[in-house]
């Protein structure tokens, strides 16, 4: 099964600044998908961004982008122009072809006004 490591339990950023959340993963599969999920205090998990491993181009969704380094098995999330509503737990996840997903331990992001 896949393993996912998030080495930053907590991060903080000033409103309007940029922050990068780190994630590394390990899998023996050649076909897999990577995700970042956001969990605000409401507890609802929200998909932030998705990357297919066979695609070289880094995924981007508005202020959210990833830096996907396949050889290094690294998948970091960059949040630009941080907003107060970005404060949440962020989980990195890896899903292989057998469809079950593994998650990292999470990073709690605080946004300071």
């Amino acid at each position: 099964a896949q393993t996912v490591t998030q080495s930053q339990p907590e991060m903080s950023v000033q409103e309007a600044e940029t922050v990068t959340l780190s994630c590394t993963y390990d899998t023996s599969e050649s076909d897999y998908y990577l995700f970042w999920y956001k969990q605000p205090p409401s507890r609802q998990m929200i998909l932030v961004i998705r990357q297919e491993a066979y695609k070289q181009q880094n995924a981007t969704e508005n202020r959210f982008s990833v830096n996907f380094q396949k050889a290094a098995k690294s998948f970091s999330l960059k949040i630009s122009d941080s907003q107060l509503g970005d404060a949440a737990m962020y989980f990195c996840a890896c899903r292989a072809k057998n469809n079950d997903m593994r998650f990292g331990a999470g990073t709690r992001l605080t946004v300071k006004p």
Partner: protein, 111 residues
């Protein structure tokens, strides 16, 4: 939008009780999953199912069982609840290759 509904948001049960956590999705997804979420450990996979009446063990199945009699419903069963099963439980469903859609979680306390 796909909806995944977990029957209880908060639940308090006594040690030794049999506990049922229900999860229903409304978009005909084949795949359904149960995770538990604990601080510092992230989400850990308990059981999953790719079809009716089938189930697969995840990483931490001990003390749990599941039932999937209908495609839309996936139940997690704690046969004899223990205090170390106090946790947040998240259900999710998906189509192949897509991200998951999650329920809003059940915070279970076993006393």
């Amino acid at each position: 939008d796909v909806k995944v509904t977990q029957s209880s948001r908060y639940l308090v049960k006594r040690t030794g009780e049999k506990v049922f956590l229900e999860c229903v999705q409304d978009m005909d997804h084949e795949n359904m999953f149960w995770y538990r979420q604990d601080p510092g450990l992230g989400l850990r996979l308990i059981y999953f199912s790719y079809d009716v009446k089938m189930k697969e063990k995840g990483d931490i199945p001990e003390g749990y069982s599941v039932s999937r009699e209908k495609k839309e419903r996936f139940s997690l069963i704690l046969e004899s609840a223990s205090t170390n099963q106090t946790s947040m439980y998240l259900c999710a469903s998906s189509l192949n290759k897509d991200g998951y859609t999650f329920g809003s979680g059940t915070r279970l306390t076993v006393v």
